[in-house]
């Protein structure tokens, strides 16, 4: 429990990916089974215990302390788990703390009636840092600043296997993953764990100008890139699953599509909804995402469909080693046998030259198209984002001129630079913040902006500085972004998707920057997607 608590702390405060990976590897290395398995479960979101509610926890702590002192403390600390772990009386029993596996087993088994006494007893035994980890575990609120993917990556590096191999097995494994750790420490690879496994997806890289020069149009097939959610539909001996591209199982939210998956195999495609007979906008699809179930009326109004891009498996046959052209042929035949209301093929776009394709790309036939995909005809289906076989060539980003308003110090290597920027556009006489960007500039430009921020600070709030942003003095940033949506969560009323700094406009006076009305008008053309 002590080592686990220390790992939680380190991961919560370490900004660097490399360092997070190392911290997890070291933990797996130094911790015996089954504790390291439970730690991995906690990091990958596989340990959603709800042994006690925050309200109960608060009551337990208030009983052990003075109500007024508790309230003052909670008010200062701001986090319930942290307040409880620090204010709980005593320093623990001084003995070696219980092992993570013992704690998890007890929390899992505890019924509603015995949970309060169990948690109180554990809080009495543990010292404050371990108490914090315990409370986070027991309330199911363990967000530690790493993704499941990163945790699996660390396990893979530690065991000397490919992350993709772990991803493939993952859905057939249950914590504390004894078969996985047996394999990672030199034993047998677990035989196909579970049916309908997720297969790591193949991703594309941006199609840059230099790629265009090197690539021969005749070697590639092109198809539209649809603005939905990339999914993998797997049907395997009665087991049907719909996975996101990170391997998250979203089948329960799409029973209509799952019911139509009357095949044996694995398809790669875009999850879309149909709205009034046409392909729905991303906003429509969003109404069906992030749900545990799907209401009937919603399914009737926005039925889910799959637009197939690729086929990874047909029956028992693994098609990934085949070239794209061959897979595409197999895909055509495969989809032809499925319910046409639910499945169709993403059409190929015939083209002669990059110029011709560029013209098509800039005026796509449907608003739900966000660009084109290019796939090398001979490329096998490879996990990850290999450079070369697949490209995405998006519609040009949208550009606006905005004014730098706030700058925040970065993390890690950028700790001594003001590298995170909040920018705004004119709303009447004042600037309304519309977004934040922290990349898109060179190291040289970063130094220049940093110097500007330091020399023109108006106010400081912790790591943030506000900078001079007046009609005739300030820094104008040309900001590129992929989309724009109306948003009630943002004061300006708009939310920007993937903003980045395209250019520094030292030459431009802030009064000439864009206005909020312009952005609001762009919501139409820049797509309703958030």
């Amino acid at each position: 429990m002590r080592a686990f608590a220390a790992l939680m702390d380190r991961l919560a405060f370490t900004p660097g990916r490399k360092e997070k990976l190392r911290a997890i590897r070291l933990h797996l290395d130094r911790t015996p089974d089954p504790c390291r398995g439970w730690a991995l479960a906690a990091l990958t979101g596989g340990l959603e215990l709800r042994t006690v509610t925050p309200a109960l926890l608060r009551r337990l702590a208030a009983e052990r302390t003075d109500e007024a002192l508790f309230a003052l403390s909670y008010d200062y600390v701001g986090d319930l788990a942290e307040t409880v772990s620090l204010i709980w009386p005593g320093e623990g029993d001084g003995a070696e703390p219980p092992r993570l596996s013992d704690v998890v087993e007890k929390l899992r088994r505890a019924g509603r009636a015995e949970a309060p006494a169990l948690v109180s007893g554990l809080l009495d035994r543990l010292a404050p840092p371990e108490r914090y980890a315990l409370v986070k575990l027991a309330t199911g609120g363990l967000r530690v600043g790493v993704s499941a993917r990163l945790a699996k990556q660390a396990a893979a590096e530690w065991g000397g296997v490919e992350a993709a191999e772990i991803e493939e097995l993952w859905h057939g494994l249950a914590p504390p993953y004894p078969e996985l750790f047996a394999w990672l420490t030199g034993g047998e690879k677990p035989a196909a764990a579970g049916r309908a496994p997720f297969r790591p997806v193949m991703l594309a890289t941006p199609f840059e100008a230099r790629d265009r020069e090197a690539a021969e149009p005749a070697d590639f097939a092109a198809e539209w890139k649809w603005d939905g959610v990339r999914v993998q539909a797997v049907s395997d001996r009665g087991e049907r699953r719909l996975y996101t591209r990170t391997g998250e199982d979203i089948s329960p939210a799409f029973p209509d599509l799952v019911a139509a998956m009357a095949f044996e195999g694995a398809l790669d495609g875009e999850l879309l909804v149909r709205a009034e007979g046409d392909v729905g906008a991303f906003n429509d699809l969003q109404q069906r995402l992030n749900r545990k179930t799907a209401p009937k009326a919603l399914m009737a109004r926005l039925p889910a469909v799959l637009r197939a891009y690729d086929i990874l498996r047909a029956g028992a046959e693994d098609l990934r080693p085949c070239g794209y052209a061959e897979r595409r042929e197999r895909l055509g035949a495969f989809v032809a046998a499925l319910d046409p209301e639910r499945f169709d093929l993403s059409p190929e776009i015939p083209f002669e030259s990059w110029e011709a394709l560029d013209t098509l790309r800039s005026a796509p036939p449907h608003p739900a198209i966000e660009g084109v995909m290019l796939k090398r005809l001979e490329s096998p289906y490879l996990a990850g984002r290999p450079k070369g076989p697949w490209f995405k060539w998006k519609r040009e980003p949208h550009l606006i001129d905005a004014v730098l308003m706030y700058a925040q110090r970065g993390h890690g290597k950028r700790s001594s630079f003001y590298s995170d920027y909040t920018f705004g556009v004119w709303d009447g006489e004042t600037l309304a913040p519309v977004g934040k960007a922290y990349f898109g500039f060179t190291d040289e430009e970063l130094k220049k902006i940093d110097r500007f921020v330091r020399a023109n600070t108006v106010e400081r709030f912790g790591p943030v500085r506000s900078v001079r942003a007046e009609p005739d003095f300030g820094l104008v940033l040309e900001v590129a972004f992929e989309g724009l949506a109306a948003s009630s969560r943002h004061r300006s009323g708009v939310a920007m998707r993937f903003p980045r700094i395209a250019r520094l406009r030292w030459d431009k006076p802030p009064r000439e920057a864009d206005r909020l009305e312009t952005l609001k008008a762009m919501i139409e053309t820049a797509g309703p997607r958030t």
């Binding site: 002192l69 003052l72 200062y76 942290e82 620090l86 204010i87 890690g412 790591p463």
Partner: protein, 333 residues
């Protein structure tokens, strides 16, 4: 004599009308008694200053020899019929509690103080008194400072796990820097400790007072010598982290040594990758146990979180009042 007649709060700080002097005044006054050398307690420009020899020397290092017209450093003595004595407070080198006594009434102004292990200064000595004036910087029951050696253990563990990274530790120049170094030495760290220029004079002063800090080197890398800081400990005042100075270190890991690191939101706000909960103030247990031990007739609470400590005194049935003194920082210097 009522306690208020001997000592009471004024806009300049605590004032003794009988002896006509202030304790730790926040503005220049005729006669000042100073508990310790932190800038918010020890200011320049008073007529006469009475403090421990170390505090006077620290003030001279920071403000120059002319920081006051007159100095006095006796451990005990008298002004205008008020008996005054200085007793160790365990806060930083030279820190003292000031006891004032007249008409059979004794008040102890503890200044900043702590009860935790510190090899760089004399330990706190409880002094029986009628009124005990305590600070309340960490006056909330959530403040429980762990064993400082365990915190040093966390720093050493990080150095072991990330040996390619320079470990930059933010410390205040007076007290925290030297204590951190001494604790590192006590934990067996024998490598040179690199220090920012702003820490040099006070570190040298501690050494000349006989406090062994081991090899100290200036962290003034010329360009290209960055690699030698990999896996080393570099101490600097926190303000240096945001300055261009910090850019010379390879893949720096920013740590802070402060009692505030206990609260995650505060540690995050500071941008700490490693928060070492090492404080030169009392935590909640230290404050409450000290009050119980001294068992004064009345407790006066100066700067910090008075409200919670007032509540605790109420629960304990102790007479207490907040002084609402202004001008003292959260965790100064």
């Amino acid at each position: 004599m009522r306690p208020d007649d001997l000592l009471h709060p004024t806009p300049e700080g605590l004032y003794c009308p009988v002896g006509d002097f202030h304790i730790d005044p926040s503005r220049p006054v005729r006669r000042a008694l100073i508990t310790h050398g932190h800038a918010d307690h020890a200011r320049a420009g008073h007529g006469a200053v009475w403090a421990t020899p170390e505090t006077l020397e620290i003030m001279a290092i920071r403000y120059g020899e002319g920081f006051a017209a007159e100095r006095r450093s006796d451990a005990k003595g008298e002004i205008g019929g008020v008996r005054v004595s200085f007793h160790p407070a365990g806060h930083v080198l030279g820190s003292a509690q000031i006891a004032v006594e007249a008409g059979g009434l004794r008040i102890v102004a503890a200044g900043d103080y702590k009860r935790a292990f510190d090899p760089t200064c004399a330990a706190f000595e409880p002094v029986p008194c009628d009124v005990f004036i305590t600070e309340a910087t960490f006056g909330l029951p959530v403040f429980r400072h762990p064993d400082p050696m365990a915190e040093i253990g966390r720093l050493l563990a990080s150095l072991r796990d990330f040996p390619e990274r320079a470990h930059l530790v933010g410390v205040y120049a007076l007290g925290k820097a030297q204590r951190l170094i001494a604790l590192l030495r006590a934990a067996g760290w024998e490598r040179p400790v690199y220090i920012h220029g702003a820490l040099r004079k006070l570190c040298d002063y501690y050494v000349c007072r006989g406090i062994d800090l081991g090899p100290l080197e200036d962290a003034t890398a010329e360009k290209g010598a960055a690699a030698r800081y990999a896996g080393e400990v570099v101490l600097a005042p926190p303000s240096a982290f945001g300055a261009t100075w910090a850019r010379r270190f390879p893949d720096p890991l920013f740590a802070f040594a402060s009692g505030w690191m206990q609260v995650r939101a505060r540690a995050r706000q500071r941008g700490a990758e490693l928060g070492l909960v090492i404080s030169d103030h009392c935590d909640w247990a230290g404050l409450t146990e000290t009050i119980r031990e001294i068992d004064p007739g009345e407790v006066w609470i100066t700067h910090g979180r008075e409200e919670a400590l007032m509540r605790w005194c109420e629960i304990e049935g102790r007479a207490a009042r907040p002084l609402h003194l202004v001008g003292y920082e959260d965790e100064p210097e």
